[in-house]
Amino acid sequence: MSAVVFGPVGRRLRALARAELTLLGRNRSAVVMALLMPLSLPLSVRPAVDQMDLKAKGLSVGTVMLTAAIGFSFLFAVYTSLVSAYVARREELVLKRLRTGELDDAEILTGTALPAVCLGFAQAVLFGVGCAVLLDAGAPRAPYLTILGLLSGLVLCAALAALTASFTRTTESAQITAAPLVFVSMFGSGIMIPTEFLPDRLASVCELLPLSPAIRLVRGGWTGQLSAYEVLGAVVTALAWTVVAVFAVRRWFRWEPRR
């Protein structure tokens, strides 16, 4: 681990991540999207949440709002902003230029993703503290599950962003190609509506969506209501999606603009 952090790989990743963070800071629309969406969208869900019979499902306003905020952070601070970043770097031939150097392909994709992933993590920590203090969400009962869900969600968002970028030609069209996962996740993965409120059969299908396991683990870690069997199911599903996404990126990622 220390070899990765302090060795040549760590040095290269830091150099790339630093440049990428500078670029993120200079892209106003990306900053607005990454900072405001995860903050404002959960508030729009609030009236609907107040109508729900949360107690019967063992949930509270705090835990539902928290997972909504973290889910939106996955989708906007990490996934959508990374699709744009990967496409922009490819179209400016930055990825091609980086591939002429010592970085290997995985390092290039990881270094580019680091600022967005760290931002997503920082937002989640802030939301966790905020909801615990302001909305009486309390402390997580099984924090390791919340952390596990958080990390798996962040990694999967980055991998899916690289995959989406593979078939996105311009930064403008990134808004469109990123939309399907955003909408499917918002409604199906328990971000806007907890899956507990979906019809059983639909819920069991929605559990298999890419971000469902991450959200489930984050929420379950907070409420402490997941059985070992449910945890295993979520971990296996999250792992399967990550393996598929990484494989697909290795197979189909485009490093250069189409001629």
Partner: protein, 312 residues
């Protein structure tokens, strides 16, 4: 150390590259570059220069044949080759919103044993532009930034794809001097260019690419040696080609007439020119627009293109 690297730093054998649509951009080329040599790939646009260089840089896998850089396959053995090579792509490759200094710092962080960024920028005369965003640089300044980054790791082998395109005359001369100084310091340089004078003046050896194949290769002198010299002039009014002395006796090996302009090709320039001028003196006519030039890379280059047209 690798056994053969002292002889050939770059070795290319029967190299082929085919694009997704089936277009064969590189059709079986072979050459080698020795340590401390400047080697130029010369060719028109679409001749296959960049397609070839990208294979040497290890950006793509060849469709056939073999590439060895410092004794390694640059695609399969990336980690062994990259720390020892520097690359300048044909265009771009930098985020437009970063400044020159930020770009150099980022790149330096990705290179083992990088020289100080300021030193690299100073080499190409960009130190004063360190705080300017890349998008505000001129085309020539961007080329120089690219060169500075290629030099950051003090590479043993340098790949330069059209290094002076977009540079003004002074910038071009500065780049040539820098490349020569690097060669004198032991760096092996492979560059592509479509400027004939660049290849002629800079390269120790060169290859002319045409339609994905090497049409001619050697030192500039060797490539031009086999080429005929040229004489052109306007026929005086009332004179025809047949009024000249028999062309064979003048040592002319080919001719064209375009209106009243006559172009002769000869491998015996002095004999042909003397015969022609003696005839003109005797006939008391003036050969307007007289142009006599010995074989040049330009002639070799045009000859290759001409041969291709005839073949088509």
């Amino acid at each position: 150390m690798d056994t053969n690297e002292h002889e050939h730093v770059i070795e290319v054998t029967d190299l082929r590259r085919v694009y997704g649509g089936g277009f064969e951009a590189v059709r079986g080329i072979s050459f080698s570059v020795g340590r401390g040599e400047i080697f130029a790939l010369l060719g028109t646009n679409g001749a296959g220069k960049t397609s070839t260089v990208e294979l040497l840089e290890g950006l793509a896998r060849p469709a056939g044949g073999r590439v060895r850089v410092l004794g390694h396959d640059p695609y399969e053995e990336r980690a062994a080759v990259r720390p020892r090579t520097g690359v300048m792509l044909q265009e771009g490759g930098f985020p437009s919103e970063l400044t020159v200094a930020e770009t150099a710092r980022m790149w330096a962080g990705c290179v083992s044993g990088a020289r100080p960024e300021q030193e690299a920028l100073a080499l190409v005369g960009l130190r004063k532009r360190a705080d300017i965003r890349v998008k505000q640089l001129s085309g020539g300044e961007r080329r120089r930034l690219d060169l500075a980054l290629a030099l950051l790791g003090e590479p043993e082998v340098l790949f330069l794809d059209e290094p002076t395109t977009g540079l003004d005359a002074e910038g071009r001369r500065d780049t040539w001097e820098l490349v020569r100084a690097l060669r004198d310091g032991g760096t092996t340089v492979l560059l592509t260019t479509h400027y004939l004078e660049e290849a002629e003046g800079l390269a120790d050896r060169l290859a002319i690419l045409h339609d994905g194949r090497i049409a001619a290769a050697g030192t500039p002198a060797e490539v031009t040696a086999g080429r005929p010299s040229r004489i052109s002039f306007r026929l005086p009014d009332g004179y025809f080609l047949g009024d000249l002395p028999p062309l064979g006796e003048l040592g002319v090996c080919g001719h064209e007439v375009d209106g009243d302009v006559v172009r002769l090709r000869t491998r015996e320039l002095q004999r042909a020119a003397t015969g022609l001028l003696v005839w003109a003196e005797g006939a008391q006519v003036e050969l307007r627009g007289l142009d006599v030039r010995s074989a040049s890379l330009e002639e070799a280059f045009l000859g290759i293109a001409r041969k291709q047209e005839v073949a088509v």
